[in-house]
Amino acid sequence: MRVIAGLLLVLWIVLPVVPVLLWSVAVQWAAPAVLPPSYSLQSFSALAATDTVRAAGASSLLGVGVATVATPLGYLGALAIQRLPRVPARLVELTLLAPLAIPPFALVMGINVAFLRFYLLPSVGVVLVLAVTALPYTAFMFRSALATYDSRFEEVARSLRNLVANGPPCPGAPARWCNRPGILPRVPGGLGRLHRHAAYRRGAVADASHAAGVRCVGYRE
């Protein structure tokens, strides 16, 4: 029973990819042939073409650019939401959520002219728009990361800073921890979460969550 459920889920996930994979090695493949009559790796040679390589490079650069902008901004936004009084915090929260509601095509249709008018480099404009659409995700990921930290942590950091201010060196902790309490000590946590997120994307999630949760339904297999 459980095996059947698993196979169905695998089928659900994999089936749409199958024709794509087959087409990628097919020379020609007209109906009603269930499988391509002949195979070739020729289409993959296009991967080495300069156009493809350039496009891949541009995409990667764009991705890196957007991540570089959206990650720290999201972190700062999350920090602000955590520290601001209730009403302004809500406002910031809603503002950072707002790009979710706006479909990218609508965003681009409207802003195109403004970018041109301000002589914004096209690449900068694209990064800006994509970063804005990515902000809801980074901000809220950092928010939940920060929420898991006890506020006591902040108090410890604060008392450490007082120690520094009053003379004695910060005991046992690198000086940078004392100088910027509440910021640096937390970043690794947030980044850790990011890394975990990245790991999820690579499929490692199954492993991690598994160790924790395998036992849920069946204790034996």
Binding site: I13, P16, L73, A106, M109, A131, V132, G203, A206, G218
Partner: protein
């Protein structure tokens, strides 16, 4: 909680908020303002600007129909994504070996763009597509791509977004759910009961949030409905993009009106969603 302790902390917090808030407000503000102006005929390509609500009132029936269709597609896709996503998550938690495979495969589909996903679903479900060929080209093969029920488009959304839902759910409960399931088992809960009486309620908050995101995303997404839907009727994004790209320069205001309706519906859904989630948390 120690938040908002006096003006200096608040001031610093405002400073933190600015770099994130400013670009959002600027980009959204400018693009929405430009869209509103264009929809009202105040930013024409040719001729002097002249105020007109024609783009909004000229074809209200079609605008309403497009909105209804978009809402229907988004709602169906969201329900499917949430159900299947939860099943995937529950299965990953439940089965040691197979679960690992299912989880890894599911997570691997997340970086695939919707456009590619739409192409894949098209190859799979279209007339004389892969599925029909595998089934031996039956005469009764239903019109999935371009059919009246938007099945291929909705399947594409469900396929891509169920993986997203599963990822969010696993990320939020994986740490606590194992122990709680142990506790439930020793309290007499069967496997089924553990899934629906423990895992499901635990996953509820992340399911709600991901449902909201999926709904708003599918509402405003263009490629899958354009590639996999029928020629007519049109959902909002398809209508907006078609009019935006029309050779008829006077169609631009209507394109903007369609886009703005899509924005308004998305914003409305998010607001309602936030209220509902808040309310249900208070009731607990």
């Amino acid at each position: 909680m120690s938040r908002g302790q006096g003006p200096t902390t608040t001031g610093r917090a405002v400073l933190f908020a600015l770099p994130a808030v400013f670009p959002v407000v600027a980009v959204l503000g400018v693009s929405l303002a430009a869209a509103v102006l264009q929809s009202l005929g105040l930013m024409p390509f040719i001729g002097p600007p002249s105020f007109s609500v024609e783009a909004w009132t000229g074809n209200t029936g079609e605008l309403v129909r497009a909105t209804g269709l978009s809402l229907n597609i988004a709602a169906t896709a969201t329900v499917l994504s949430v159900c299947i996503g939860f099943l995937i998550a529950a299965y990953v938690l439940a089965s040691p070996r197979m679960g690992w495979i299912v989880g890894a495969l599911s997570a691997a589909t997340i970086p695939i763009p919707h456009l590619i996903g739409a192409g894949a679903i098209g190859l799979l479900l279209s007339d004389s597509g892969f599925l029909e060929r595998v089934l031996g080209m039956p005469a009764a093969f239903p019109a999935l791509v371009g059919g009246p029920w938007w099945i291929a488009a909705i399947t594409e959304y469900a396929w891509k977004e169920s993986a997203f839902v599963a990822l969010v759910v696993l990320g939020s409960i994986a740490r606590s759910v194992g122990d709680l399931c142990d506790a439930a088992a020793t309290l007499g809960a069967t496997a089924r009961q553990r899934v629906f009486r423990v895992v499901l309620p635990l996953a509820m908050p992340s399911l709600a949030v991901s449902a909201l995101i999926v709904f708003v995303y599918t509402l405003g997404s263009y490629e899958p409905v354009w590639l996999l839907g029928p020629t007519s009727p049109e959902p909002l994004p398809v209508r907006a993009v078609r009019l935006f790209g029309s050779v008829d320069l006077t169609a631009r205001p209507e394109a903007m009106a369609s886009a703005l309706v899509s924005v308004a519906v998305g914003a409305g859904v998010i607001l309602i969603g936030i209220l509902v989630v808040r309310r249900s948390r208070e009731f607990r």
